[in-house]
Symmetry: C2
Subunit: 532 residues, 2 copies
């Protein structure tokens, strides 16, 4: 290892300069810090007192006309950075778009301007439209620390936001990023508030409504705490990370796409907020509404069908709660100019059989192929949601949507559209008749005879995640029995697939602690208290 | 640089083991991450999928019977860690107390047990004594992420805690650490709620009351966001980081000490909570009371005089607010068995002249030496607080304390006791007649003629900090004029000292933006609405 022994540049004179000169030389440090910018300064840095800077929460790094905020780490290892260098973690370095050796300066980061508004919210005040605009702008520009972000999220929790404030927040989130315009009067989308494993209806609804002739440019997220997002599952079949120009071409040719939305810069503040909401299991009505509706409006949607599942382990656990949430969604959608249909659905258990990208892709393809063994609950739910979307077509009579959707699916037109999308996005050649699953597996079996009377959505999702999903696409949980099934003692309830021994063990331990299944008698099965 | 090319250990079979085997070899990475444990895993780690782990907020590292939580960073640089190694940031490595190469295993960190209680508090519920005990235990054991910590702090903000909950929190904080017992019926202390620069009365009160014969084993904090804490300033005169045995000896010989409390493990949860409260400027009554009283009870104090300054830029800005805070302090003190006297003081401006360790040490020594040029406000305030403490002595009549304190100070007995403490702790040979100040300086001058009618505590503290205080002991602000002084246009208001050009520039910019001084006429000077 060669250690550069050239003397550090001289300390800048502070006489005339407005800022001290910036003789630090930038260097990319091969450390991936996962969404957090980290700057590395040598303890003997000749220009800045590393120690003094470190007590602060953030520093600002300026180079090449860009400014980024970073947490400062101090090192005494010249192999990481030398005294005249400023190291940056991979992502941070890439944000500046410069070569190694580019000059950079640092300063103590000022608290973001909107912090005064944040402090007022923490103190319980109602904020104005301008306040939300300023806060969301700073969040989208990564000027908030994790501490500030969490404070904002907790201060906006529960009923701290009135519905007008939820509209302000939504509107600010739309304005914080790009907004697509498809130059069509009808741009449809569907969305679920989440929490139900295996709920991959989008991959059925999109080809159905596109085959009906509606524009449905679907951009989805990857899973954050769930075992698969639509983007993760679609990626089993085709490429999902596409440049926007190609996406637009596909949408123009096929009326649809099923792509990852991450590169589109839609409502970027939302992604930042989610990073602190998830670990706290915070999903307050206001934040949920702002998050979902801002993404849809930014993506250029004009009509949205929203799926709110109810169940004992779903996000929404009672009908009154669902109705309150529905009203809030409807109010904000009307204010922001989005036509919204809310559908309350059965969230008592996972949808379909597979939980994890490959397993879910298998389920979806079985439904599209009208395979008799396809999971019927997934098929029915997708048809009902697609039917509601199709009824947004002014030429369709209310109530006719379901039959139209079923006809499109049964005729193979939905499958054909899906295949066209897969080809257009770049096929991965997935063979759902012989899906490549993780080579390690175990079964979780019924300890006694009985009827499956509850399946814990959260625990099934957890086991699938521990098994490696969604990063390991072939990992996950395959449910062999659903609510109402009678099983014998020792009969397998589900099978867990993994590709790494450590993952398998983590999943096994979790399922041993709590399988997620409860067995009982017919009267123990909770009633479906939802209807379309 | 030698790169170890030995092949990584084989992947553990997961057949029988309850946990995957742990073939990672520990390594100390020379990165100081400032209070955050960071673990470094090579991207090609043969045992764990680095990628899968990283999406999680925390991992648990187990080695040598210890468990610590850490944030995971992934690197592809074998000079930082090799594929069979687990790197730990300096502090994290030191917590495990092992040698390089010690075997370690990692797992996905489970959320701390008390998170369910945290989530209930976020949801607005009242928590029980057991809930607070569990939460504070997890916080003290560093099991909370910054996100969880912030959520707890914000959820306990404002009036979210009733006074019984504040007692539960205080009690839990005492129980989370060590509790000293001095085996004396009367152990006195004083404390200020903070926010007033230059307010170094402890360094006068302690020698005075000790000279009176009271036990006053004072442990103080270092500054966190202020330009100097008592420990920082005392460190100009003597060593303050002392092993507990030596501290106990000094107290036994001199009835007092003026040491840093950091090593004593008193109310450790408080230090953790402070790390998120400060950046949010959150200082809710409940948290302030729990923080201060838990430290005092843990330090073995039986009697406390508490200083609550009021002023336009103090923490408490009105008398009703001060009275509310006083009642809460008194309620919790009574529940926890501490005898408390609250004193409401003048917080309209900094106390004394110097702001920063060396400058404040100079002021303190001038008062102790009865130097005619000593700042009188510091002397008067210290005498009044010491007087109140002396009145805790059952042999002293109410109202006699001030005169006794003044006699001790005027007679030189306080100075003698201070010199004894300095010698006992280890003198630094500070010459306050010729204090070594930063060799760089500038003056901030009056832009117009007028009377000093406000001095912003916050802004003066900020300028002193930017100049380098408290890390650079000889940096700070020397106030040349105080409230009510008549100044001519161009006359210097204060002088800023620094040792590094960059620091000087940062301080200059801040003072140019806002000097912290306002000039006007006599009627603009806010009234003192406090009396002892």
């Amino acid at each position: 290892m060669h250690v550069d022994s050239s003397s550090p540049p001289p300390v800048a004179s502070s006489a005339a300069a407005e800022l001290p000169r910036s003789p630090l030389s930038l260097r990319r440090v091969a450390i991936d810090t996962w969404r957090e910018n980290v700057a590395y300064l040598h303890r003997d840095c000749a220009v800045y007192r590393a120690e003094g800077f470190q007590a602060l929460s953030k520093i600002e790094v300026r180079a090449n006309g860009h400014r980024i905020l970073a947490t400062l780490n101090v090192t005494s290892d010249p192999r990481i950075v030398q005294p005249h260098e400023l190291g940056l973690s991979q992502d941070a370095f890439d944000q500046l778009g410069v070569e190694r050796g580019h000059p950079a300066s640092i300063s103590q980061a000022e608290p973001p301007d909107s912090c005064q508004a944040l402090f007022r919210k923490i103190a319980g005040e109602r904020l104005t439209r301008e306040d939300y605009a300023a806060i969301v702008r700073d969040i989208a520009n990564h000027r908030y620390s994790k501490i500030e972000l969490t404070a904002f999220v907790v201060a906006c929790n529960r009923d701290e936001l009135d519905r007008e404030e939820v509209f302000f927040l939504t509107d600010a989130m739309v304005a914080s990023g790009r907004r697509l315009d498809w130059h069509e009067p009808l741009v449809v989308d569907k969305h679920c508030i989440g929490g139900i494993p295996g709920n991959r209806t989008s991959m059925l609804v999109v080809p159905i409504v596109a085959a009906h002739g509606m524009l449905c440019p679907k951009t989805s997220s990857r899973a954050i705490t769930s075992p698969a997002g639509t983007a993760d599952t679609m990626e089993v079949l085709a490429k999902v990370e596409l440049p926007f120009a190609q996406l637009a071409e596909i949408v123009s040719a096929h009326k649809a796409c099923l792509a990852w939305g991450g590169t589109a810069h839609l409502s970027p503040a939302d992604d930042v907020l989610i990073s602190v909401e998830r670990p706290l299991s915070i999903d307050s009505p206001g934040q949920m509404v702002a998050s979902i509706l801002s993404k849809k409006v930014a993506a250029g949607s004009t009509h949205l069908v929203l799926d709110i599942p109810i169940g004992p382990t779903a996000k929404v656990r009672s009908m009154p709660e669902a109705q309150r949430l529905r009203r809030l969604f409807e109010y904000v959608a009307r204010r922001i100019g989005l036509s919204l249909e809310v559908v309350i659905t059965d969230g008592r258990q996972p949808v379909g059989r597979g939980v994890g990208p490959v397993l879910e892709a298998r389920d979806v393809m079985q439904v599209l192929e009208n395979d008799p063994s396809a999971p019927n609950d997934l098929r029915q739910k997708a048809l009902r949601l697609a039917g509601r979307l199709i009824e947004c077509d002014p030429d369709v009579r209310g109530g006719d949507g379901f039959a139209i959707a079923r006809d499109i699916l049964d005729s193979g037109r939905a499958l054909a559209r899906m295949q066209a999308l897969i080809e257009a996005q770049g096929s991965k050649g997935f063979d759902h008749h012989h899906p490549a699953l993780g080579h390690l597996s175990f079964e979780v079996c019924a300890p006694v005879e009985g009827m499956v009377c509850s399946i814990d959505n959260f625990q099934i999702a957890r086991v699938a995640r521990l098994a490696g999903a969604p990063k390991v696409k072939e990992a996950g949980v395959d449910l062999l029995h659903k609510l109402g099934d009678q099983v014998a003692a020792g009969e397998p309830l589900y099978r867990v697939y993994a590709s790494f021994p450590a993952d398998l063990e983590f999943a096994r331990q979790a399922s041993q602690k709590d399988s997620g299944y409860r067995l009982g008698s017919a009267s123990d099965v909770p009633q479906v208290f939802v209807e379309f």
